[in-house]
């Protein structure tokens, strides 16, 4: 049987160097190396590491956007709130082991100039995008300089 398979170990963060003092299969080591490389390159390789998920921050002239990767989460299991000048994203999904739920949370600091009452969110293909419109005076204004 040569199909790649391995047992997902959840205690990886507790022992960053596995296999010393314990038996580790080839696949387990392979997976471990993948993970090490993955984290070295991207920081967060995906969900399920400490209950956090990767977040991007974008802006254009009108809005600030927070984009979060939440694969496998149903849209009704996501809650987005503005609390004390921070954006709170909470989500849960069925654990990959099939038992119970995994929950994730992330707090993103947002600038004061966001119109908290006009924040909107959409979820598509496992990606949550929160649109935070900026207040009028916070938008860039063009000032004409008159030269005498």
């Amino acid at each position: 049987m040569r199909f790649i398979k391995f047992n997902q170990t959840n205690g990886r963060s507790a022992s960053p160097v596995p296999g010393f003092g314990g038996r580790v299969s080839q696949q387990g080591l392979e997976n471990e190396l993948d993970w090490l490389f993955g984290t070295a390159l991207t920081g967060f390789a995906g969900l399920s590491r400490g209950g956090q998920f990767p977040v991007d921050l974008f802006e254009d002239k009108e809005n600030t956007y927070v984009r979060a990767e939440l694969p496998g989460v149903a849209s009704d299991a996501i809650s987005v709130e503005i609390v004390d000048g921070a954006l709170s994203i909470q989500a849960s999904r069925k654990a990959s082991s099939g038992e119970g739920n995994e929950s994730f949370a992330r707090l993103v600091n947002i600038a004061d100039e966001v119109q908290a009452d006009k924040v909107s969110a959409s979820y598509e293909n496992g990606v949550l995008t929160v649109t935070l419109p900026r207040k009028e005076q916070a938008k860039p204004r063009k000032i004409n300089v008159s030269v005498n």
């Binding site: 040569r2 254009d60 293909n125």
Partner: protein
């Protein structure tokens, strides 16, 4: 060299493609009749995903997330838009005619039916 591939998978880079790719997170589980592969692909649409099975190698590849709309600049990035590439080697215990793929909420679920010869068989003792 399928065995070598098991030990050293694509490593997120394919020889024919000089563009750096990333390897998505995945999990493999097994039931009596099938293998189940779950790949985390947030932001990936059905159209930008390609799944092939050739010479005992299952390959899941495609473009990364959508391009940024014009005028939008990144202040902080924790995710990657790089194309992804995952190659998994398997032996002949998979019935390649019966590979089923479902993409939902950024998670790709593949079901690979085991070929009849790979299923456990009970042998009666006479």
């Amino acid at each position: 060299m399928p065995y070598l591939n098991v030990l050293i998978p694509s490593g997120g880079r394919s020889e024919s493609d000089p563009v750096a790719t990333r390897k998505p997170r995945y999990e493999v589980s097994e039931t009596e009749n099938a293998y189940r592969i779950t790949v985390s692909l947030p932001g990936v649409t059905k159209d930008s995903l390609e799944i092939t099975d050739e010479n005992g190698q299952l390959r899941i590849s495609g473009k990364g997330g959508p391009a940024l709309p014009e005028g939008r600049v990144a202040l902080r990035r924790e995710t990657s838009d790089a194309p992804f590439d995952l190659v998994l080697a398997h032996d002949n215990t998979v019935d390649t005619e019966k590979i089923d793929a479902v993409l939902k909420d950024g998670v790709l679920s593949l079901t690979l039916a085991k070929s009849e010869s790979a299923k456990p068989r009970k042998i009666a003792v006479s």
